[in-house]
Symmetry: C4
Subunit: 233 residues, 4 copies
């Protein structure tokens, strides 16, 4: 079986999305890329989560051809596949990311709600957020969602903003590996819920001051990060 | 015991509604029809879900006479019974559906909320939605809810819109079999929740553009469907 | 141990409130009265639910004197105690109720929200609802909440409306026995949640037409009731 | 191992926050102080809750120096550390509190929502609530959040109002020990949820009359308290 550990990582990320209540039935999926092999491990389309094993994962080439697997891959992965390669360019990302720039995806909940701006509340994970409004991009083929996300990020670091909100659709999330992509998706939903609460009782809410936002973001990112179990300074 | 597998299918659909949080106590029910036998399997009225076995299901004729069963059938099934035969006409449906056009039903949650239009967000399952406003139909007898739903669908394919929203009431859902009817009820509730979130913070929300909606619907339905584990094309 | 089965019934009603998510920590309680004995079984005050056994229940006289029990009874029961005797008068209630007119009580959730009218959606259990607005009744002593509820029901049948909404407070619910009181509390919360959803997106929502409301209520109550597993007619 | 029972108390308070759904992943934490030892037991930073044992807790001095522990303490504890000593001054607090004035903290949910006033509904635990608006205090260093909370309480008894709402941030909660701090955090969130429901459907909601509020608060606090299993009077 090709890419056994990548298959397991993808399965685990998918199950995390289920445990956190982000998917319903067979909606949503996470996948992961191996840059060294040039392959992607993808959840199969339409198979109930409770039946999934590493064996069910489908291994494809970077342009979506099935290399190994008895199942059809999730069509949504094919949809965004080529563009992922684009908006996670090697130059902009740390090594590990270059080797495995996967992304999680799920449907439902407040993050999927109409394209209103989210008051971004202490988002340690997200330097800011970007939203794709479907009325603003020409939607003619499936490939366009991925291409539109690429355009949206053409002047931004996708690792500092590891998600794209898509109005009328689930957000697309990614990270240094499949677990981090799922983690980002869970946190985004949580933050979206708080934004929803805020907007529901105070529709004029503004984001926090930029300085405060930066303080929280930089506590966990960059040269002066102080959070977590890194070496004590 | 008549219709053993149909009884089991109906029981399982009822339990799925419970697992998904769509019913409270004895509210709501799913039932199924066997066109070849001319019988219906129905959940009994007022029996707690946790006690239900296939034996509890009541088998009736198409006009509601009990054929086999120690319990009184759910009155709501009698209510809509004759009309189901009408709005699932044999000509419009695939064979399997003609043999078992059942329907699920449940109370509660956002889908039951006032008769406002739902911004229909990427509904792969529902080509569109139809709502019955009680103030607009003459409500004199129990049979009228079913008859009113029939009139509502007289120019539509009920399998492309497998649910009727009823203002001030739980929606009525159906499908090719009891499992699919329950599945549709769960998805409808999920979509209704997203519509609720959207309307709560942005009461002027519009539906997505029709082209985008069609793209999602047609990805799973019709001759060009590409989703799931059918034969790879 | 006095009133063993009544103690068990009260414990079970309290646990049902916990299972349904209606209580937090030691908030809320259910109790039951034995008219033949002239005693009340009450949950003790401030004891965590997970530790409760029938032994913890406190038996008091109708005027609140402890007859048996190692614990202090919930003060909220003492609060409403004498008035319960008033607003459940023997003449207005069926026999069984006269022997045990208990009441459940719990805090939290939408039913406790500000004293806005609830659009009463298909309430099979409640002919209508009554709300006590604290600003409208002289609140000087603890006994007044019970007395105020009595005044609220002086021209109504408390068994047709087995709950009182109290603005800024949890509702008070009752029934023919402790289980039914808890059941009514759960249903009230569920209906309140739907009313909340409705008002949140459509603040001008009106109740359903009275005829429709009566049809649902009378399906389960009175001489022409047809719901449940009574003798088939 | 230093402060074994304090470590266990802190771990248990952290787990209570998880059980009650107040934390996501490694967000939020509870810690406790031993005034007699002059040490603090703190949850480590960024370690998943499901892996935590008493051993993981970090013991520090009052000015944040690690005394014992293999992990880096939660930075948020360091953040507020020196100020806790200030706003829980020995003179104002009962003995036990002086020996262990800990505080819980968690992120998320309605209590974290924008700095609108909460209609304070029957808060037995909170005499009133105080909110820190970030736009109103100079936010230049980490220490400022704690210092700002101290200023906010300079004329108030922190044990009568055992929490500070911080707009755009999780609230800070405290109590006589870590368990009580967690308890207060859970209750605050619950009350915040009710306030949210109220504001969502009635944005002009006012607090209950002060007399009614005092009645509920004084039922559980002060010389005339009557709630719970203290000696019967």
């Amino acid at each position: 079986m090709l890419l056994k550990s990548l298959r397991e990582e993808v399965l685990e990320a998918n199950l995390e999305l289920v445990r956190r209540g982000l998917v319903l039935y067979t909606f949503g999926n996470a996948s992961a890329i191996s840059r060294t092999d040039g392959f992607v491990a993808i959840k199969p389309s339409g198979v109930p989560y409770e039946q999934l094993t590493p064996h069910h994962m489908v291994v494809t080439t970077l342009d979506g051809k099935v290399v190994e697997g008895d199942f059809r891959p999730s069509s949504i992965c094919q949809l965004t596949f080529s563009s992922i390669g684009n908006f996670l360019p090697s130059a902009a990302l740390p090594t590990r990311t270059r080797n495995s720039p996967p992304r999680g995806r799920r449907r439902g909940g407040p993050s999927r709600v109409s394209g209103l701006p989210m008051p971004t509340i202490s988002m340690d994970r997200f330097q800011s957020l970007k939203t794709l409004h479907p009325r603003k991009w020409p939607e003619t083929t499936r490939e366009n969602t991925g291409a539109a996300i690429c355009r949206l990020f053409k002047d931004s670091d996708p690792m500092a903003i590891p998600a794209a909100l898509v109005a009328g659709h689930a957000p697309f999330c990614w990270g240094a590996n499949a677990a981090e992509a799922a983690h980002n998706a869970v946190i985004l939903e949580y933050v979206a819920r708080m934004s929803y609460y805020t907007l529901a009782i105070h529709s004029e809410s503004k984001s926090l001051p930029r300085e405060l936002h930066d303080k929280h973001y930089l506590r966990k990112h960059g040269d002066n990060a102080s959070y977590g179990q890194g070496p004590t300074r």
